[in-house]
Each structure stands twice: as C-alpha cells, then as structure tokens.
Symmetry: D2
Subunit: 384 residues, 4 copies
C-alpha cells in the first residue's frame, strides 16, 4: 500500500481528446496518484487552457515536453513527477518516451508504442538501460474477466489450444466511403502522424495483445489482406489475417473501421481440445466457458470462484457493472506497484501489466502485416 500519492505528469491529452481523460480518470480512480504537471498540446495556448481546466498550478503547465523535462528535473526530487503518461499521436510516442526515460522518469505510454519495429527495439534497449518502469496501456488486458480467461487457459481446463478467433470490428469510418469531402483530416489516417498503419495499428494490436495475454501463444506466421475502402485514404481501414501460432494452433484475426453499425465489439474465442471460452469487450463483466458436453457457463466478475487476479482487479461486488475506465485503472494500479518501488529505491517487482516487450511484439506484428499484405506468398514469418 502506497503511503503517499504518486505525482503524475502528462504529455498530450488536451481538452477534447479521447484517451487523455481516460488516463487521468484511470490513474486517479484509486486515490493513488494525482496529476501535478503536464504539456497538453503542441499549441502552448491550448496547453495552458487545459492545465487551467485540470486545476493545475500554472507553473507546472509546459509549452513542450523538452521544457517539461528540464523544469521538472529542476524541482526538488520530492516535488517532481514520479511518472509521465504519454498520450500523444502515435508518431510522437517514441521521441517523447525516449526523452523522459533518458531523463530518468518512469513512463506510462499509450499504444501502439512506436511507429516502427526499429524504434520499438531502441526504446526497449533504453528501458533496459535506464532501469525505469515502462508500462504500455494495452488496457483490455486490465479487465478482470480477461484475467480469468488467462487463468482458465493456464489451468489446462481447455486442453491444448487449437483454434483462436479474435475480432475487432468498428464502423465509425464507414460513412467516409461515400462522403463527398476530399479531405480526410483524421490523424489516424495520416501516415505522418499515425505511422504505416491505421486500422491494424489501432485495433488489431489490441486483438493481438489480447490473444498473447490470454493464451501465452505467439504468432509464427500469417497471411494478411488489408484494404483501404475510403477513397483517397493512404492507410488501410480493414484487415483480415489467417494466423498460425507457435504451438500449431490456427486462427483468424480481423479488425475493421468500416463494419458499419459496429461500435467496439472486441471479442475473443479460444478453443482447446476439451473446451472453449469467449469474452466480449462490450459486455466485459462476464466470461463464457463452453463445455463439449452441452453447457455454456457464464462466470461473472466479483465472485469468489474466480482466480485471484480477477478478484484483485475488481472494485465492486457482482452485478454492479465495471467498465472501460476501471479496466484501464487496473493497468495503472499495477504500474503504481512498480513505480512506487522504483521511487522508493527498491527492486521493481514483476507486475501484471503490458510492458516494452509487448510494445516490441506489437510493432513486429504491424510490420509483419504490412509485409504480408504486399507479398504474393501465402505465409509470411513473424518478424522479431
């Protein structure tokens, strides 16, 4: 148990952003951290306005991240931020994270971690060199019932895993396909800001991380088919993969932003020789186990028949739904165990949260998709 609140800094997350507020709510939900400093926009006026809205001391609201690092370092150690949360567009993850790590700060970073595998490996080297904490917010693994799913697979209850289907269809960009507008202003679709991938980097990486977390399996090779349905788009808005896993399992992984009418139904189905499981992000308080004898059993969050990790990552009793923010907060709560240790000069403990290796795996995944998509051969080996 922490004896003081951790001091949080933020880069990105200005007024009107989506993921910035989620990070702030998640980090502070358990009263273990407070936002004390930040650089919230590349526009200094917007950064200042955000700092005011977030009720920060104006002296801790910065014009750019370089200034933030310099001025935080100039503060007495017990006033300075304990960690920074990086919630900028993809293309800036790498330089900001590198700079904070080099300056000796712990880092929580949104995903995808970088825009290239090469960058990802450099960041990994820097994390290892620095001895600082680095947590990547693949938030979906924070859900208690995802932890239960991992525990079920690890228990051997499903037998050997042979097939995995993981889906992440969204529909919010479908409307652009028939739009007369010639400008596609979204940063996610601009390679200069998002990197080499839109849909797969945004969504498929979550699906990939979810499979790895629950099953412990790694993709050995894949066959990718990606498409840009939006006229004039430089990046893909839909992608479908055939995959082979390192244990011989086969599977499907698909993601989309043009599946009109879908909201955020990330779903995973894992089938072993003795049973199957299903988890759905849009109804996340449950896990379904499928028994070949003819039953489907729904387990629900908040009960004592779940594994310790599922129990420890719940805040409410059964039947009182927890959601996206609480799952996100579970990632932060794990991060805080490591950050508190690091700040106290203790050995950093192993935690149940995605780290720089997951980030490297994610970029290897994206680059393999892009390579496979261009290849005329059926199978492309997973990069590493």
């Amino acid at each position: 148990m922490a004896t003081r609140k951790l001091k949080m800094g933020m880069v990105g997350g200005g007024i009107g952003a989506f993921i910035g507020p989620v990070h702030r709510m998640a980090a502070t939900l358990d009263n273990q951290a407070e936002l004390v400093a930040g650089c919230f926009s590349s526009d200094p006026k917007k950064s200042a306005a955000a700092g005011k809205a977030y009720m920060l001391n104006p002296s801790r609201v910065y014009q750019n991240y370089e200034e933030m690092i310099a001025r935080e370092l100039a503060l007495p150690e017990d006033e300075r931020i304990d960690f920074v949360s990086i919630v900028v567009p993809n293309v800036v993850h790498f330089p900001v994270a590198m700079a904070f790590l080099k300056a000796g700060f712990n880092v929580v970073c949104d995903k995808p971690m970088t825009i290239s595998l090469a960058e990802a490996k450099k960041l990994k080297a820097q994390v290892e060199k620095s001895g600082k904490v680095f947590v990547l917010t693949h938030n979906y693994t924070g859900y208690p019932m995802v932890k239960e799913a991992k525990s079920v697979v690890a228990s051997g209850k499903l037998g050997k895993i042979n097939k995995i289907v993981v889906e992440y269809p969204q529909g919010w960009l479908a409307g652009l396909i028939e739009s007369k507008s010639n400008t596609i202003a979204m940063w996610r679709m601009d390679p200069k800001v998002a990197g080499g991938s839109n849909c797969m980097g945004d969504l498929a990486t979550h699906a990939h991380n979810l499979v790895r977390y629950i099953t412990g399996l790694e993709i050995s090779e894949m066959c990718a088919d990606i498409t840009s349905f939006i006229p004039g788009a430089q990046l893909e808005d839909d992608g479908n993969l055939l995959v082979h896993y390192d244990n011989g399992a086969c599977g499907i992984l698909h993601a989309s932003q043009i599946s009109a009418g879908e909201e955020n139904p990330l779903k995973i189905l894992v089938y072993g020789t003795r049973g199957g499981l299903e988890w759905r992000q849009e109804n996340p308080n449950y896990l379904w186990l499928k028994d070949p004898a003819g039953t489907v059993t729904r387990y629900s969050r908040g009960n004592s028949n779940l594994c310790k990790a599922a129990q420890n990552n719940s805040r409410l009793p059964w039947g009182h739904p927890e959601g996206f923010i609480e799952a996100f907060a579970n990632v932060y709560r794990e991060a805080f165990k490591a950050i508190a240790a690091e700040r106290a000069g203790k050995k950093i403990p192993a935690i149940d949260a995605p780290d720089v290796n997951d980030g490297v795996a994610g970029l290897a995944f994206i680059e393999t998709i892009l390579a496979s998509a261009k290849s005329k051969s059926k199978w492309t080996k997973m990069k590493s």
Copy 2:
C-alpha cells in the same frame, strides 16, 4: 466549470465497506472534488486507520461526527469541507444529516434517507430552512440510458403509460435459509440498525425511485406481500407489490434477496399505448424500445441520437462500457453544480439528481409497504 476542487468530508466508509469507496471514487472521478476530512467509523482507531489509508492529514480525521462538525467549523472558511457524504447505516442517516445541515454544511446522503417517514419530513423541513444542498444517492438514475428512458417517456413516443413492471431480485441471502448458524449478524437485517425494512428499504426503494424518475408517475395505492424466509429473521427478505399509479396505470414491483443465483439485475419495463421500453442495470449501456410493428431497437450510450442528458452524462464513446461508478459519479457531478453555486453564494440551480423530496417519497413508500403487508384489505393508499 468549477475553478477549484470542492472539499469533501465523509462520515462512515471505513476500510472494507462497500458503498464508502464507491462514494469516494464517484466524487473524485471528474477531478472536481477531493476528500480532505472524515470520521470513518464509530471506532476511533478504525477511523484513524482509514484516514491514514485514504492519505488524509491526521488532523482532519475525527473520532465522531460531532467532533468533525465542531472542528471543521473552527477552520477558516476556505479550508473547511464544502460538503459531507454520509455513508453510515440507515438508522444513523437522520441524526448525522440533521447535525451537518444545522451546522450549515451541504449534504450528500446515501439511501434510504431515514428510517421513518416522520424523520424524513423533519429532514425535509431542515433542508428547506437551511438553504443548503441535499442530494440523495439513488445512483441508478445516474445512468445515461436511464436518462434516455426518461426522455423517451416524456416525448410521448410510447403514448399513455398503462403498465410498469420493475424487478430487483438478488440472491445473496438465500444461503442463510438453510444455514445452521443461529446468528444473523448483518446490519441490514437488524431493525435497530436498518430500520423497519431490510429488502424493501435496500432494493425496492431503488426500483420505486427508478419508476418515478423515468415516468414521472406516483403510486396511488398498493398491495404488498412481504416474507422473511430466513429463519429467525426480524425483517423481510422478499417482497412483491401490486401497484396502481396516479394516471391509471397498473404494475408490479418486486424485490428479493433470496432469489438464489441472481446478482443485481434491477430491470424496468414501461408499456404505453404506442410502445414499450426496457432497461437493465446489469447491461446498462443500452436501452431497448419496443415497437408494436415488430421491432425492438437497441439504443446505446455515447451516440449523438440520444437526448442531451444522456449525452452529457457520458464520459466515453460508444462501445466503451461505463458502469456503476460512472453512474454514481453522475449524481455527484450534478450535486457539485449546486454545491459550487452555494459555496459561491449564488442561487442554487435546479439539478438532475435525487433530493430530499425523493427521500420523503421513499420513506412513504416503505411505510406504505409495511402497512399494506399487515393489512387484510387488498389496497392501501400511498402515505404522504
């Protein structure tokens, strides 16, 4: 928009409590308040331990609520708490709330508001006399899709409402029916702590409040059947009501703690001459509208086709589930509008949150149930 965080005090909510942490998470979720003082247990040692765990200044952790009032009043006005959240057992709601109101503090109080209608009316008089803010945390009305339901009914889309079915079955006490243990230690089942009702005060009041919020209808008369299935229990653990509403609608309202295997599936169905609606607490991000022409349409939180209140009470986009804490936080966010105004010496605005009148209605409801349950006549008029 607030320009400073409101200072929150708490009475009750020690380590291990259920609803205390919910109030703290809900109140601070949006960075508009911070816990600064409290009396967390009737046991001073436990109160102090809780204050430490919550990282409070020990000088603001009190041994009892009278001391808390006296010492907070002794602080300069800009340091003193702006409001107190009362999360003690039912029987103590009244004296604590009265004391804080009389001392000039704004109050957020858990439900049921008091243990008698007489107390409830006295509290109402005090609220009116004091000019302070009083909010009652009937949290289920904080869900965005409940607000959408209210808007749908108000729009007339369903026609005149003729039938309402509202259910709140739980099963967590079913195990006690066959338990060999002679002690029933739970405070909810002890009339000295819970008041004259267990199941109906705890659950049916939520169902009642939900109907009133969504439809604006009031029960005119009822027929109640309550039972204590648990051997030796002094208070009921199950109750079923036939109800008549003031517009001529009929309905059913039932609640239970011995419906084995149920978790927290509060559900409401409202039927008008032109359509019906359904909302379920365990899957709260959706509202179903039923059209006699043969369709059921699911509306989902986070979309722009919802009413303003539903939109304004969301924090996340579609498909990213919000839950119980977020709905609870919506009650607090409304309360803060009123409290901030009161503290600034401005006129207290009308807010979308349950108040002392809802508390009076709740106690009238409970007392009518208890009277009807004893009566041999079919119909008992609603008390007022």
Copy 3:
C-alpha cells in the same frame, strides 16, 4: 411403436385460423396420424372449402359436429376416426368434448378446457366414466427444456422452492386502446364466446400450467388485479397476481395483451434455497441454471446431459433449433401412446401430457382470479 397411422378428426380449424393448422402440423409431424375427417366451421360452406383444401374425402367433411359424430359412428370401426381434436372457440369446448366423449371417442382439446369450473368438473366426470383418452393442449409443457426444468426441480438441485416469477406479456391489443373504432370484434374479447376471461384465460392459464408442471406446486391463495384498458371492452386485457403456493413459496404471475411491443415472451423463474432456473419461450432450446456461487449455466436441447424426457422429446441434434410446432407435436406424441393403447383395447398408460385434471385446475384458477379481482380482501383461497 404404432403399426398404423391413427385417424384424426377435427372440429374447428377452418382456413385462416391460427391454432387449427398448428394442431394438424403437430399431429402429423411424426407420421403417426393423418387427418381423415372434420367439421371445420359452423358455416357449412366454409367447412366444405376447408375439407377440400385439406384434401379430405368430401364424404368425411361435415356440416356440424353432431352430424360428424353420427356419421363417423356409422362407419366400420376400422375406418372411423381414432380421436378428435377440438379447436373451436372456448365457449364451445365443453359441449363438443362432452358429445364426442359420450359417443365413445378419444379427445384432444385446446385450452382453456371450458368456460366454467362447473363445466370442467362435469367434463372430468365424463372422462372418468367413459374410460377414453382426454388430452388438453397446454403445449408449452411439450418443450424439451421445460421437461428438463421439471427434472431439475424434482432432483432437489435447487433446494426448497421459495419464489416463482412467471410472466406472459403480449402487446398485440395495445393498439386498440387508442383506436377510434367502436367495435371490438375479436371473439377472445366477447364473453359469449370466450367465457368470463380474455387475457387470463388465454395467457395466464399457460403460465399457471407451466408452474404446476415444472414445480409440482399448487397455488393456495392469490390476490388478483385485472384491468380492461381497451375502452368498451367487457373482458380484461391485463392481470397481475400475487400468489402463495402450498409449500410456503411466494410468487408473482402476470399476463398482458397491452404490453406494447412484446410478442410472446412467456418466461418462468424458479428460485430455491440452493439455486434458480430460468426458461424463456421465445428462445426455447435453452435452460439456464443459476448457481449462487456466481455462475449461470446454459443447458441446451439435444445433448446427452439432459434428462430422458428432454432427450426423448427432441427430434434434432443440438444447435438445430426446434420450435413451437415441435413442442406441440410432443403433446400429440404422448397422446398417441394412450390413444393407440385405447384403440387396441389395452390398458391406457400414464403419459406425460396435460389432461382433464389440468383443465379443472385451469378453470379453478380462472374463477379464483375473477373472484379475487372483485374482492376487497387481500387473499382469496384457491377454488377447487
């Protein structure tokens, strides 16, 4: 196994009727019976037209049921019908069934069996006196998963049953509430044709029969609230009951035709000391068992983990949905076991199908509802 097809006669069920075709499809689904004779309408021309459409020999199509009895009796015994299915409006069930029984025919009759308890008792006396087979098509108990539910309760797995909620809301008459038309032509709403009850006789009797079948419990007393929302209607279109069962369980039973937007969602929830169950007619291939430890397990039709009755009443493997007609056919298939025995001069075996006693219980239920609805006392003892 039958060695010849049984010969079926029908009274009622002309072209355009709802339940007549269901009886014909259900009776012939398993190739154990064939329609050979009938009187399909009180209008001889319509009866003849129906007989032609059903491809009957015109000599076996009759102008009224008295003629049908006389002329069938005049046929050689091996040509004559083995049983008659009665699918006329409620008010005519009694005279037709009595006449066929008195003439020595086996009878399958739609529900409610008669329009008064007195008639029901007379019919029961006649059945007993005649030694013929009488089956009442409370078809919902024909569903395999209803049989599984019965088996689960009987096994004691749920412990002692304490609460039962059974619902049967429909919405198809809601539109009449605001209709400008002054005529309500439907026979169901005409006391001269439907008897003393509309909604409760049509729907609540199914709910009542379902409870009795699954739990074996009988209502000891009830409190009924029935309403005619349709202007000018002589019979009720909505009804809500508080009920007490003979083992001390309590419950709710409600039915409606003005729950706008509902189709046919008959549903039952049974709660014991150790678990609960749920079955829904609109998704009938499943049964849900609720364990207080925190799981809900879905059992599905067609699997070998079900009771013999559930298995024997399935025609298809798991996952290939069976529906209303198949459940109805299960009632007929049981009836045929008894009818074949009777025709062969053997002892009539006990069968798993509703009989004249269920019909008497249904009429006692309806008359108790009507008495309770008029009473100012809370509880009305069940008639018998």
Copy 4:
C-alpha cells in the same frame, strides 16, 4: 394450391439417420406430400425394416435404387412417385441423382451435390437436358429471416457491400483429437464416402451458399488454410478463408468441427457503406440491422413489416418460434410448386430454392479451397 398430395420417394434415410427424418418431416409438414416408396439402406434388411417403420406398403420398399427406378416406372403414372429425395452419403449423390433424372423423375438432393466439380457439371447438363425439377437442400436459406436479409441487401438500405464475415464453427469432433481410438469410422471423414473434403464440404458450403443467397455476390478469389487436427484423419476438420468478392468486397469465411463447445452457430454479418446486418442460425427468428447512427434494430419473424418472402415462408405468428424443420420445409414447399407444375405438364415456374447451379457453385467452391490450401500463392482464383 395443389389439388392432390405429391408422392414422395426416398433413397437413404434409414432408421437412426439424421437428415432423412428431417427431409420426411419437412416434406410432409404442410400436407402437400406423402412418402409412398423408398430404398432406405444399401442393406436390404435395413431398408425393409425402415419401410415398415415408416408404414409403407412393402411392395414399394426396394432393395436398391436401380430396382426402385425400374419398379416405379412400371407403375401406372398416377401411382408412381412424383419426386425422389436423395439423402445418401455424399459420394453416392451423383449416380443416384443421374439415374433418377435419366429415368424422368424430379429430384430433391441433399448437399454437397456431388463430390467433384466435374460430376456437378455433368449433373447440371442432365438436369437441363431432362427438363425435370432439381432442388438442392441448402436448407438455411429457407429461414424467413434469411429471406428478409436478402431483401434488405437488395433494397440498397445497407449501401454497397464491402465486408462479409460468415462463420460456421462446430465442436463435435474436438473430442477425437485426444481420443486413444485408432479408428475414425465416421463416413464424413472417409474420402471414399465423403469426397475430398469433410468440414468444408459439410459446413463451409452452407456458409458460402448463405452469402450468395443474401448478397448475390460471388467469390472471385480466396486464400484457404485448412487443417486436420484429428490424428490420422485424411480430411480436414477446420478451415479458414480470406475471400474477395466480385464487387470488390472482402471477407472472412470459416468453418470448424473442432471448436470445442460450439453447437451449430452458423452466423453471417454483412457490412455496407450505410449499415450492417447480422443473422444467427441458433436464434433464427430474428434479424438485426445495425445503423451507424447508433442503433441496432431487431426484426422478428411473423410481422407485417417484413418482405413478402419472409412473410410467406412463416407458418406461425410472431413470438411462436419456428426452427430448423420449418425452414427445411420452406425449401420443399418451393420445390412442390415446381414439381406440381411439371407433373401437370405446365411450364415449371421460377422458385425460391437452391438448384443445380447452386450445387455447381458449391463444388467449385470446395475444389478451389482444396487447390488454394495446397498452393503457396496467396490468392487462388475461383474455379468455374
């Protein structure tokens, strides 16, 4: 409307078979046909026993299909069968169907139509030459809500179709993966009986047919990954396809028999530029339309807001579930329109049922899968 019942013959479908009884129940459900002749097994004793159980005249129960053809032809034309239903193992479909066609009989045949594309084309030529009716029982297209889905796509309501996901996972063979038994006796897994494919021929062909029926789109190229997880199996038990359609849409089609715990959840999702749809075989009375504005609307069978084909293929009102047999019977009902015309010497009308062209498309699909599965190239053009 037929004026006499059609006379049905059957080849295959002995006692204990799965699909034979389905054909018999489906064909006779609407009182438009009766089984009068058959050869039910390659074992004459079993054929005779089946004929007796089905209550046939022993003179119409044959020892083999050649005898059946010869002796039926020897009957007067008005006694002879009007059509034959072929429900033998896959490998025998072709010779039996060819023989009956050549002898001048109308044919209803189970799927897959043949075991090779070459056979399929020969059969098509024979059908065209013969002028007889040939219907292939891809029964899933008989569901009313599948017809509604087709109508919705045709209406343009979803815009241009860009993505299609169709899934058909079963789990019934998963247990064999760890089985110690060395024999895999099932005919489906024996190339000599099933042909070149097990899982894809049995399941994926239904998925393929469903897509073609609903969308009218044809696969232009595919990338297939098929696997035999069962040790010693000669045929695949799992398969995953990336597909491209002729309008530029992309998609996924997968089928499995080792997805442990799945029963028969054939499901299709179609996404256009303006909306999406979803249909699920295990809950077949509904169709879900997904609107990007934030609603999902469930349409249900039996309502007048559906297309004519959906209405005409229903037998029961809303809320009274229809299932697999009824959908199958819809295929037969369409077939009977054509067969009755053919028998009456009239022009055979266009009907809404799968025909020999669908059978050719199915075999082209299977052979393309097998070719793609062996290819190292990503894309394989659809055979034709």
